[in-house]
Symmetry: C2
Subunit: 423 residues, 2 copies
């Protein structure tokens, strides 16, 4: 008899209705080329009112304790670096400054390679092993690449990481250290580089583990565990708003799906609204939401010229419009774009007020909160949780550019005294 | 009636026997200038055989769940960034390569600012608040400085961080982002800079929160929580050896004290041996252990010239010889020095074999393990735990120096094909 806690799921193509079993090796629907949706057949779903908590197997490492909610069925395929389990921190000073009732920060910078992408790649690499792939491949501005490289290394797989020429030094070195094969493409566009990756992967049989539901429906499922943890950390009383930085949009879709799962299990009643934030210098998703574009339009109209310090979310295409736009709509949420100057201000505020050094792409969530408060979209006194997606140490140069130089002081009492009294 | 779970302790000066209450503001013994030892009066100590586990208060954040074992009595003084709770990872591939029976890695790079120093400064800043200090100060090669700056920021205190001219860019930027006052002294010697800090602190009334038991007996107590977690993660069956990088030596002393506490509580029988590892280019502690120097000699004879990539442990003085030397002796342990080349090899191996990117000062623990296996000090089949103390992203330049350049590839199918097939 199968363990009732092990996940059972199938792939379904919403456009044409086709479905395939969990063992399917197709990354997209062979009938209509649609993107797969993963449908779980939860044991607990039969009696939702009686679910005692989020289905889990506590002895499994990292986020795999939520295995019953993830598309991995072979425990032997799991490679964990202890991802997830990140703290939910109360930011009293910053919250008061932004005029919200309570501000909490989910510190995803604490993941193994320093970003929330580790949750996705932990699942993606496990799936790659279940399907017996030997080489995985991603296109990345750095964070997905580091996660893919680290988990591939730990699993003994080869990794091909395609990065744009703009990738920061910290991320480049990190990926190279994990022993991955780095392909640094002399081009700034993620959408363009993705086409090259797709072509190369088809030619050479690489398994794409990018965090876009459009090309791999499994990887992104790892993002759901952020919501599971948030629910447990708040004793199932979720905040009014959940604010996330947005690149290709897939994370929003999976955060929302996790919220719907918790409601279906009878564990939460009221769900947060979702707000997606992008940098004004690369905001195709915000444009799609605010101008009411269709999924089709949003998924194909590339942003013309990327110009932002928030490189980790500078996707010029809304790869996952098919899940991201419904998430905003169904949650009664919104999207907002923020200028780099406000992002850098909030990066400083997070460090100096709360002791958290995050990369610019994380600080956009706070800059977005400030804008949404100013607009009146988020009401005074609301409870808000922002996702901090990546570690500031991954892009030291951008932070350094906004700081004054630190002069050398002569090693004498007189020089020290003059220096510290001058401040 | 006082909460029996709250810590009760006093300060005792082992050299002269003087003791003071927990409220004492003296950082050293006013009688003989000796270093204080913190003595706990554990409630559980009355009936050690019946301790149900490590005394704790689970609802407190981060490492403060172990409050009954820490020298902080006012819960309102606590500032937590969710430090501690780091994963213990099994390194099967690397363990087999080094010929040990089981190799586990305590991944301290996962702390809030990326190093194990966060555990110490969480305690140090809480103590500073209990004593109503407004300005804290440390001397640091970068990690302690980042921790002090982050926790001071979160607590609303001012921080003065004295760093040597050699501090890596990542650590410098991180400390500056937290809003600390950085004093970058044009000198390479921690011992020398410490003297300047001591002088300035006395002149200006700063509270020193350095992680040396010699100058602040409270801060280092946070290191004990590494052992508490290790004990819980191993179900109280500890490894044969615990290997740690060593700077001023205090961490070894506190790891050992925590082990003795667990034995006194009746929670563990057999304790691990401790091995301390330093870089060959700055190894005063190893010299002291291997040449049988006295505490007095070790604590005063500075290493003449620092020459190593492992800057985070390049203390030219064994500041805490009074606790570190007894820890090695009493545990039946040892100390070993490793050349930088072996450290960099193990840094690569940790990343490429296990998916963990740590700074050189962490990799020395593995390089030390390799040496101790070669010497025969650690027997084949032994169970070993190494502490990985800091994140590789804190010093990207050192890692980059050991990697080949990543060339740009033209954004065409032909160029990509030529590039990936060449590998």
């Amino acid at each position: 008899m199968p363990d009732p806690r092990m996940p059972d799921f199938r792939l379904r193509c919403p456009p044409c209705g086709r479905s395939e079993s969990a063992d399917s090796r197709s990354s997209r629907c062979p009938e209509c080329d649609g993107s797969w949706l993963i449908e779980y057949l939860f044991p607990a779903a039969e009696s939702p009112a009686r679910a005692p908590g989020i289905p889990q197997i506590p002895r499994l490492p990292g986020l795999f304790r939520y295995l019953p909610m993830l598309p991995v069925r072979d425990v032997a395929a799991i490679v964990s670096l202890g991802e997830g389990g990140t703290p939910l921190l109360r930011a009293a000073r910053l919250g008061a400054r932004l005029g919200v009732g309570s501000l909490t920060l989910k510190d995803e910078a604490r993941n193994p390679t320093g970003s929330f992408k580790d949750r996705m790649l932990a699942v993606g690499i496990a799936r790659a092993r279940e399907l017996s792939h030997h080489t995985v491949a991603v296109q990345s501005s750095g964070n997905v690449g580091a996660s893919a490289a680290a988990y591939a290394a730990a699993a003994g797989l080869s990794a091909k990481i395609f990065v744009p020429r703009t990738v920061p030094q910290g991320k480049l070195v990190q990926i190279a250290m994990y022993g991955a094969d780095l392909v640094r493409v002399d081009h700034p566009s993620p959408a363009f580089i993705f086409e090259l990756l797709l072509w190369a992967s088809q030619e050479l049989g690489w398994y794409i583990v990018s965090t876009t539901a459009r090309y791999n429906p499994f990887v992104l499922e790892g993002a759901k565990t952020i919501v599971y943890e948030l629910a447990e950390q708040t004793s199932f009383v979720l905040p009014d708003w959940l604010i996330a930085p947005v690149g290709g949009g897939g994370n929003l879709g999976l955060l929302w799906r996790a919220l719907l799962e918790l409601r279906a299990l009878g564990l939460v009643q009221r769900l947060p609204r979702l707000a997606g934030v992008q940098a004004a210098g690369c905001a195709p998703f915000v444009a799609a939401v605010r101008e009411g574009r269709s999924v089709q339009q949003a998924g194909t109209q590339a942003w013309p010229q990327i110009d932002t310090v928030a490189g980790a979310i500078a996707d010029d295409l809304v790869f996952d419009a098919h899940v991201a736009l419904p998430a905003i709509r169904d949650s009664g949420g919104t999207a907002v774009a923020v200028p780099d100057q406000e992002t850098l201000e909030m990066q400083r505020a997070l460090a100096a007020d709360e002791g958290l050094f995050v990369e610019p792409a994380s600080a956009v969530a706070l800059a977005g909160l400030r804008r949404l408060r100013q607009e009146g979209t988020i009401e005074e006194g609301a409870s808000v949780c922002c996702l901090l997606t990546g570690n500031g140490l991954k892009d030291v140069a951008t932070a350094a550019a906004s700081l004054p130089d630190v002069p050398l002081v002569a090693p004498t009492r007189a020089a020290i005294a003059a220096r510290v009294r001058a401040r």
